[in-house]
Symmetry: C2
DNA sequence: GTTAACTGTGTACAAGTGTACATTTAATTC
DNA sequence: GAATTAAATGTACACTTGTACACAGTTAAC
């Protein structure tokens, strides 16, 4: 249907795999030492995410807690991160990769664009479930993180919105809108998704209410699309 | 233009003044003791809000910190609240009053409904500034608070949305929508406002970007209204 | 006026925190 | 193989935290 040509948006940034596996580093063979370091590093990242998912607030978890969960001694933490804040910024990088995967999955499914909203929301939902920890971190951090983390997350959501702008303009969903107006609409969509995320993440073990919430989100996206189509300067 | 007749929604709940003054308790003359207690109680509440506004995360501030800022000894905290969580639930009550004032102000201004969105957003903006602490707490707590605080905030935002439904139906803004559909739209509006709040609160000392963000919010609300008008089952 | 109730004080302690520093262990380099 | 480098350990210390407990000072009740 269309090709991914927004290289300019991302070519400058490398992000590690979101799978959080021990950083395979595929082609380049690492030295054993660096390999082990990368291993405990992602153990720390995973420990932090796990603690966040288990109900902890990222702002309150301590270096010692993280280190314990990662199976290392507290002071070893400093070999990898200066701070919990610095670790948090790395979590944002994981989030970035995850969001990009989300966009890619949504694009694959959107061949038949008649049910575009349906499809996209289902994919969003699946990502919420399969990367719960990251999205809990995202929703927490966007308003409750340190200033630098808040900014980093804001930035990722902005990039996400720009991706949506790209898609909307390539599919000519709203021919009457210029790119600034498309961005405005995309921001509204992203905001609505992010806002819903908080609710959905809290409904993990209540399938009925969760489905209801998803239906609400879908209707709201439809309203946004209807409104965007009607927009006049 | 219209009268406030949604008594059924609120008649069962009393909320203290949001001004956080020492709980005047107007008509009933309190005993001196209870009066003093109420005084230090709101000193604790104000201390917590101040700490939150000064950049602290509510989840991380300690009983000792709050007590110190309130000018009492740490252990005296327990005479008023069992927990920081219990204090947090009281902050939600303050928030509730604040949101109700917001609705009321918006209604007073909405006599000429031609610029309804403009007016409402300006009022929203003013409330964000004059009750910064409460809204910082709200955005933090909605996704990063304890489960009970998250629920309490969710509940308040739901009540807020119901108020909007009330207004929309009384003004017959969208004659084609039934009340469930109006609620869906109101939730979208509330979500968009809440999402924007996080951004706006971070732009307090950057008037230029702040104005931009407000313009974005206004455009987005317009999209929502356009879409709601176009909605068909 | 005495007694009882209650808010706020002061002390105390065990548990948890960040982090400096010296040490051990293992991989890389020569 | 010896020397070097770096990751992880272990110990240590000065905080901060929540909270139990005994106490003091005031107000309320009788």
């Amino acid at each position: 249907m269309y090709t991914c040509t927004q290289l300019t948006l991302f070519s400058s940034r490398y992000k590690p795999s979101v799978t959080l596996k021990p950083e395979k580093c595929s082609e380049s063979q690492m030295s054993i030492r660096k390999e082990k370091k990368a291993l405990t590093r992602s153990a720390l990242i995973n420990a932090a995410l796990q603690l966040v998912e288990e109900g902890g607030n990222f702002a309150t978890i301590s270096i010692r807690e993280i280190a314990k969960h990662a199976g290392i001694v507290p002071t070893a933490f400093y070999r990898h991160f200066k701070d919990t804040n610095e670790l948090g910024l790395n979590l944002v990088d994981e989030l970035s990769t995850c969001l990009r995967q989300l966009i890619r999955s949504a694009r694959e499914q959107s061949e038949n664009s008649t049910q575009l909203i349906n499809h996209s929301i289902r994919i969003f939902d699946e990502h919420l479930s399969s990367h719960r920890e990251l999205f809990v971190f995202m929703t927490q951090g966007r308003s409750g993180g340190t200033p630098s983390i808040r900014n980093a997350i804001r930035n990722e959501l902005n990039v996400f919105a720009l991706e949506i702008v790209n898609d909307l303009s390539q599919q000519q969903s709203f021919p009457t809108l210029n790119s600034a107006q498309l961005k405005m609409v995309a921001d509204l969509i992203v905001g609505t998704l992010a806002y819903s995320a908080t609710d959905l993440l809290d409904l993990t073990d209540n399938p009925v209410l969760r489905t209801e919430r998803l239906a609400l989100l879908e209707a709201q996206c439809r309203v946004i699309f209807l409104g965007a189509a009607e927009w006049k300067a």
